[in-house]
Symmetry: C2
Subunit: 348 residues, 2 copies
Amino acid sequence: MPELRRDPIIGRWVIIATERAKRPSDFSFAQEPGAKKEKKPPSECPFCEGNESMTLPEIYALRNKTSKPNAPGWEVRVIPSISPFLDVKGDLDRHGKGMYDLMNGIGAHEIIIPTPKHDERTFIADLPQLEKLTGVIIKRMQELKKDTRFKYALFFKNHGRPAGGGKTKHQHTQLIATPVTPKRVKEELVGAKSYFDYKDRCIFCDMIRQELSDKKRVFLEIDNFLAINPYCSRFPFETWILPKKHSCDFDTMNERDIKAYSKIFQFTLKKLTNTLGDFPYNIILHTAPFRRRKKKGYWETIEEDYHWHVEIMPRLTQVAGFEWGSGFYINSVPPEDACKYLKETNGI
Amino acid sequence: MPELRRDPIIGRWVIIATERAKRPSDFSFAQEPGAKKEKKPPSECPFCEGNESMTLPEIYALRNKTSKPNAPGWEVRVIPSISPFLDVKGDLDRHGKGMYDLMNGIGAHEIIIPTPKHDERTFIADLPQLEKLTGVIIKRMQELKKDTRFKYALFFKNHGRPAGGGKTKHQHTQLIATPVTPKRVKEELVGAKSYFDYKDRCIFCDMIRQELSDKKRVFLEIDNFLAINPYCSRFPFETWILPKKHSCDFDTMNERDIKAYSKIFQFTLKKLTNTLGDFPYNIILHTAPFRRRKKKGYWETIEEDYHWHVEIMPRLTQVAGFEWGSGFYINSVPPEDACKYLKETNGI
């Protein structure tokens, strides 16, 4: 009989198909991420070193000291999106239209290019480069936080066409700052807060404790971090990376944290790639909304009750009518099975 | 500048790309729903008349009085899914595992076959048949409601591969009864209730009033029903069908309602198909959870504050990391534009 599991944080139910569980080789996307053949040669790739003039002027770049902005000599480069979801210029304007509420689409939409090389797969191939990328994400988040129009910054990467990834082969990631705290983030915050109010403990910390004692869904532990297939996985091989030590903000990591996080992140992606092939995925960073000091020296809360983490969601199956209508997910690979597969493989 | 619109019911924000709005012909799925070529000939189709023995024994069928169950002579047939998400046998068993909650996967998963003919596209081609289908859905819902293990029944149809539709060409729809009220349904109920508590009016009724007066997003009105592109459409050409008269339960429609509903439903799909081609879509019925008479003669509430409707979600674009992480949707066709296109076309 299938098992219904309830996500303890936001109360979402997942149907885990325990009996007809699938194996990694059952997924047709496994060996083909479905990205259309790229038409452009590297000489026309706007993300390549030497082609800096093909993009909008850079926002920031980690570059050697002798090089100039918008010129070669960089390692990680941040540029504005050429087709931004939200517009960075202007003041917030909220109003109503009859019973409806709207505001103008103020926000920031930045593209972070993790490598100057066209064919490099930084996420699984180059650890020092990945550490630099992590540093740049943190830097950009700290910068965006200063803009009082923004409430949240969402870092993500789409890979492969079924995950909404584009046709450009050159690796890139995205950072979007929004003028409201997004609904999904709010749901997590509310769930975590309600648990904290009741138990005086962080729900994520409790989850980590239980996972470390259950030993069924943790497949990697490096320094202060662990990688798990969560109890209530919505997707086959869904994977979370969490710091064991309580922390609500991604951008408070120190040098040592950055090294350990980059290492577990890379090893996790290697294990997943070794198990599933060049699979399509979304990677989403879940971190606390921006908090600002209030007049009398208080900070807005969310210090103790939230816990940052990264969610890696392989997109091996279609989300269809039942999931859309109900918010129930159907997962054909129990996380305990996924964990076994991932434990057994050693990465590429 | 893009516009941020807030869904008044559940508080979800949508980014409406007003400036670089797309046209129907811009969607690559428009002319190819992406369903893989069907391999089976009709002679091997388990949903065809004459092949009744290829399915599990039928649950119900609308058939002529001289015909026998599981034999030819039917018009609409209901069978158990051969690969059910949930298992119909057994008692509910809820328990905890440490901090996690789970229950066994009790539920019903029924396939409703709207036509005995292999090539018939009932939803756009055969109005009397569609009325019969509507009657059968109502009948099954009323039946499932009697099973006290179930809290909700979700009716839906997936069409085309990007919408999670299968390879079987023979039309079919699904009805799933769940032992808990699904999260998405709860969100709508909570949102509608909170509005009702504040205003003493149904939020959907208010929305209908505003749409009828705005005249920008209503493209069809037939008898007691209207078809709109909602103000806060998540997807290009998202369409809702609602009864103008307040009603929380789909299964309380009378004969006249069924006729008018089937007519507007068919005309809506014809207009969408004429505009977008054979497009991939999910159709999801949103109706109130099952209510039962309590001991002292009271009913559980949700009479005044919920309003059933049908959501048609064309799947022309990919949902990617930003949507998954934030719950924000990005819609490249303002509903006002979609409405213009749909008003202009007359159906097939």
